[in-house]
Symmetry: C2
Subunit: 326 residues, 2 copies
């Protein structure tokens, strides 16, 4: 059988990645176009279609089996509707119908963290695992779950919201409206608040960090923590240890509940603060049940920023392959 091609689309807050994907090779070629809050849906459909045509100049559009589109936020996987994607401000947009009308290809709409997890399972750190949980730490904290070799989406498509495990009841306020969520301790936005608080409390200890932002505490973010930690600043490294332990404690609950073979840790914050993996892994091996950690593998994500676009394309192929089962 000739290899099947698909298109993966990863819709971020500032840019959209569009990739040509095969199951065997993963990402073959990609294009990027601009994105933005409140962007027009009609224009978006035309722009994405144009980029797909560009990407397929060599192989021809007929070679494309399907298109997968990933969004941050809440998706209805059954209807292919984006219920709410906060970073672009879309609500109740029928992406599947709209894009199918213009492209003439079957379109699958997915959550970007779920698609990144699927990519890590097919082509990255999770290859060979029957059950796997990915934890991505970026501005927010999200996760994806592979069970018995399939992506587990949950009853309304929102499975894997690991950032909203309760870490400390009644604790730090979270973007979800709750209190004490894992994300409120370990997400990029929370790390910014935590470093600002730590430096406010101990300006002398934090003087290296302060030097990176001309002493304007409010400008401190996870990026400065990464920079300082890479340069060996012990104040920054201490904070990374606290955050890594918090991350690990959250994942202990995941491991005890799911008993996965593999935990994959990735995302921009983990890339910038790679020590988080060791601190979290130590906490997981100490804190989780022996029966669940004895054969647990804890791995670093391998596909970096390409994971969502690859996963979206692969899920579209998977959807076509299994649609006779539905």
């Amino acid at each position: 059988m000739a290899e099947e091609y698909s298109i993966g689309v990863d819709v971020g807050g500032t840019k959209i990645a569009i990739g040509l994907i095969t199951e065997r090779q993963g990402l073959i070629a990609s294009e990027r176009i601009a994105s933005g809050f409140g962007m027009d849906v009609d224009q978006w459909v035309l722009d994405v279609n144009e980029a797909i045509i560009q990407l397929c100049t060599g192989i021809g559009l007929d070679a494309i089996t399907a298109i997968g589109v990933g969004f941050a936020g809440q998706i209805n996987p059954a209807t292919g509707e984006v219920k709410a994607s906060p970073n672009i401000g879309w609500r109740n947009v029928k992406v599947k119908d709209r894009l199918e009308n213009v492209t003439g290809k079957p379109v699958t709409v997915v959550n970007d963290v779920q698609s990144a997890s699927w990519a890590e399972w097919v082509h990255g750190a999770g290859v060979g695992a029957t059950n796997m949980v990915c934890v991505f730490v970026g501005t927010g904290v999200g996760g994806g779950i592979i069970i018995d070799g399939g992506l587990y989406k949950g009853s309304s498509g929102s499975a894997g919201e690991i950032g909203h495990i309760t870490l400390k009841p009644g604790g730090r306020v979270c973007t979800c409206g709750g209190k004490g969520c894992l994300e409120a301790y370990t997400g990029g936005w929370a790390i910014a608040l935590r470093v600002q608080e730590a430096v406010t409390q101990d300006p002398n200890g934090g003087k290296f960090l302060l030097g990176l932002v001309d002493s304007d505490i409010r400008k401190l973010t996870a990026k400065e923590v990464s920079k300082a930690a890479h340069l060996g600043d012990s104040f920054a490294l201490d904070l990374v240890e606290v955050i890594g332990k918090d991350l690990g404690i959250g994942i202990v609950s995941v491991v005890n509940m799911f008993n996965p073979e593999t935990i994959v840790l990735g995302g921009g914050v983990v890339d910038g603060l790679p020590w988080l993996i060791d601190f979290a892994a130590h906490e997981i091996r100490e804190g989780a049940l022996a029966s669940s950690v004895e054969s647990l593998k804890i791995a670093s994500a391998e596909l970096a920023n390409d994971a969502p676009v690859i996963g979206a394309g692969l899920l579209a192929l998977e959807q076509e392959r299994t649609k006779h089962l539905w």
Copy 2:
């Protein structure tokens, strides 16, 4: 097709329930024999076989398709070995092989909480749900997970250890060796400690409870809390509210991670303190993500003490039906 019969066996710390099971009718008849810590495996096999013969007097042994045996503790579902069952003190016992040799029937060995969850899904509060999580609160806190209509056992058989979600990092010491686990706040043994602490701190408020145990604080358990709460004692009811909220906070993490259609709450402590369900449900609906609770059903378990024996028998039938798939 004639209805298939199976045998379910539920091995508890003081007694063993043996039931005749069909998929349509559930539990048809049952026997009980004694159990105990350190009981002899050879004798156990003979006793269970004898009870099975008794139960099948009417229908004949040939009518039995398979036998399912449930244990508390750690099971290897692949080999049918009991790795560790603390309440009877067994370690590394090849239950499947031993019982197959004597009975001549295929034997499936299961975790009792997982089998109870399966029973609730087939015949109880979870009927019709695609994805479901059961939370059983007894002396300990355990759970079972149904995903896409199948029992999810995890990579080493220990999925669903909801009692060992971290509720409060560094908090109350748990039987697992960890700290701050959900079970250390809401399990029967933990409720005993919490009521003893509460009454020690406020003997006047707790005087009704004290009266139930001749003022011997160390004799207070979840049972007295139940008795006092049923009689309207506000001190006991306040404690139940605190425990119900803790239970709900733990389940928020379950709901955000799994996005199940249905949460089933059961077990001896929930039966004795039924207010726990409402307090927990309130906390879940307040604390979990809107996308995960909008269509969530929270239900009370329906099969009570029969759930593990029914589930063991049903899982044995399921195993036989699907074995060609493995």
